[in-house]
Amino acid sequence: MGNKIVVPFGSQHIALPEPVSFLFDTKNEIITDVRVDVGYVHRGIEKAAITKFEFTNVAYLLTRICGFCSITHAGGYHHGIEKLLDVEAPKRAEYIRLIITELDRIHSHMLANAHVAEVAGYENLFMQGVKDREIVMDLLENITGNRIQYDIYTIGGVRRDISKETAEYIKKQLNKLKDKVLKVYDFYDTDYTFGLKTKGISYISYDDAKKYNVVGPIARASGLATDARAEFDYLPYDELGFEVQTRTEGDVWARNIVRQMEVVHSIDLILRAIDNLPEGDIKVKYKGRPKGETFVRVEAPRGECFYYLKGNGTKVLERVRVRVPTYSNIPILKELFVGEKYSDAQPIVLSFDPCMSCTAR
């Protein structure tokens, strides 16, 4: 038997896009205990939202919580504040919001899967994934004006419309992307060596996913069909035939497969939204100031994102609470390491697609 060795993983590590620290107690390279620290990028955003900004400007702050899911934060905030102001966005705006939200999910999932491929030794596949992802980034820039941090949400609707020419361009590009995504999907699904490196690693059972309140693709890869798009009405997903994507294997491989399935499904949802884009205004006026409290659930690329807003009738909100998906998935991640090899720590962490700037806020 070997001696206990403590191995630090982070806070700065070559495999981690963001700072998080895990201290692994290991024996013969097997992890026996873990200590986790997540607060390296705490920016006091909840505090700033209730002291420095009026409610009309809080969204600019909240969308900067994260570069990947900024549209989720825009959604969480705007759906909540519209409830407090009793204002309903026009149908066309809701469809445009859905299109941007799903484009955001596609590019986030594509990068997450590319990262897993990279740490599993498939650097070329990483390059391919990132190259294909540029199609989506280009579409987002085309529609919103920005590649990331697209402040297209506004109270009562959206800032920009989608023209007929842009709609046709989106359809053409997404059909092109779908072919590329399906090829990569086929690789993840059938490649023997990729399977050897990812199948059976960091298994989460259906029961544990429920016990630890796991969210997002991590839960859905364990057969738990939980998705805020199906469980909470905030955008017209029902009208477009949204279906929760699940697998039952519960390992690193299944998480990649679920994300890839969701990319394909998101492409289909956007194509249907474009074909059924309602005519009409993209924005309505609102009056008053937010009063009361509301609870919002929206589905970020990484899982359920929860917002709590409380207004007191003034320009500044009394409480803004953001609970992001990585925050919810850290407890099971901590448990999962125990019993696994230290060498598998990288793919395990990256299969969770963690976002520390969201978690610490």
Binding site: H79, K83, T226, S328
Partner: protein, 119 residues
Amino acid sequence: MINPNVEIFQSTLETIVEDIKKWYDYKKYHYVTINGVDEGGKLRIDYIFSDYNEKNKMYVFRITDIDFDTLIPSIASVIPSSWMAEWELRDMFDIEVENTQKGIFIKDPNIVAPLRKDK
């Protein structure tokens, strides 16, 4: 417009662990988070849940009028993933929560209880 169907159960510091233990079934309900609100010198804590099977349904166990020098019981024995929110509650409101450590979210010792209005 969103239409959350929120059911609120009033609870107390003395009974919160038992109340949640009696009601919570991890197969039916999804624990969302714990939320603290400074209501002018007194703390309010919400334990928030959603329903896997009922759309838009949410449940809140609410404790109000908590003094900031009170020890908050931990619900981690009932919901093992709740420790993150309990540790954050401690950092953000500088309030003692059972079995928690300070500093997981805020490293700077000069920043104390940013979400308290009196700090």
